[in-house]
Amino acid sequence: MLALVVDDSRSMRSILRRIMTGLDFEVVEAADGLLALQVLEAGPLPDIALVDWNMPNMDGLSFITEVRKRQQWRQITLMMVTTESEHHQIVRALAAGAHEYVIKPFTSEVIAEKLALLGLVSAGASL
């Protein structure tokens, strides 16, 4: 399985890469929403994209909105991973097409649990 990690912080991309690799995902990275769209255009399509909200050039909400406009990208599972914790922000992300929402800081167990809920790893997957 392939995961796309979209975050402007190299440190956060590194943390998420280690977690996803530990769950047997291959990982590609993008530093903002625009670069992430280029990754999707180039293919192959990821099974899941883990997307930060606050990024330069194109933020995570705009990226999710763009992805959901494309029929050929409908299969991609979208998980917002962000510091934004206000209720109305969560509602906006889910309404735009995010399947799951994780608030930073997170543990590897939280990411694994969310992936299990989405059917992308087995429940209780070891890291």
């Binding site: 912080s9 590194s14 934004e84 914790s85």
Partner: protein, 169 residues
């Protein structure tokens, strides 16, 4: 690691309506430090001298206006970068240090913002050698933690002038 409150207990965001206590702030810093920085394998701290402190900060604007500032030595900032990136200290660049400390400020800022009046917007993080807080932000809550015999401080700056405080709900 030990947790130390270094702020005068009277020095709170608003002396009549406290939005954020030192205990709140200490809990935020401790949880994020443990989850993001300390978790996983532990790299040794760099041996170089500490030098002038670095400041990474994010600003919040909206129903609540304030700055959230993380300050530590270059030595500790390099160690944070090695922990987050899991690469040897010899390979850490100044961009890595900025990125790591900035992301720490970003996550801490998000947690502080969640306790304050909403809606509000969080800026992208900035790293600076100078004390970065804006002139109209004159009231502070400050806590610190200790790692490798040095302090990492977290300060939340907010307006102190009458009328700028939001009343507690």
């Amino acid at each position: 690691m030990t947790l130390t409150e270094i702020t005068d207990p009277e020095s709170v965001v608003n002396k009549s309506k406290t939005w954020l206590s030192t205990a709140d702030l200490a809990n935020i810093l401790d949880e994020i430090w443990q989850t993001m920085v300390v978790a996983g394998s532990q790299a040794p701290a760099p041996a170089m001298s500490s030098g002038a402190p670095l400041h990474a900060y994010v600003s919040v604007t909206g129903e609540w206006d304030g700055d959230i500032v993380i300050a530590c030595s270059m030595r500790i900032a390099q160690w944070v970068a090695t922990q987050l990136l899991q690469i040897p200290i010899e390979e850490i660049t100044s961009d890595d240090v900025s990125d790591a400390l900035g992301e720490l400020a970003n996550v801490v800022g998000g947690a502080v913002k969640s306790l304050m009046p909403q809606p509000s917007t969080l800026s992208l993080p900035t790293l600076t050698d100078d004390d970065p807080h804006r002139a109209h932000l004159t009231s502070a809550v400050n806590v610190s933690i200790q790692a490798h015999s040095e302090l990492i401080s977290l300060t939340v700056w907010t307006p102190a002038a009458p009328g700028l405080h939001k009343e507690a709900q």
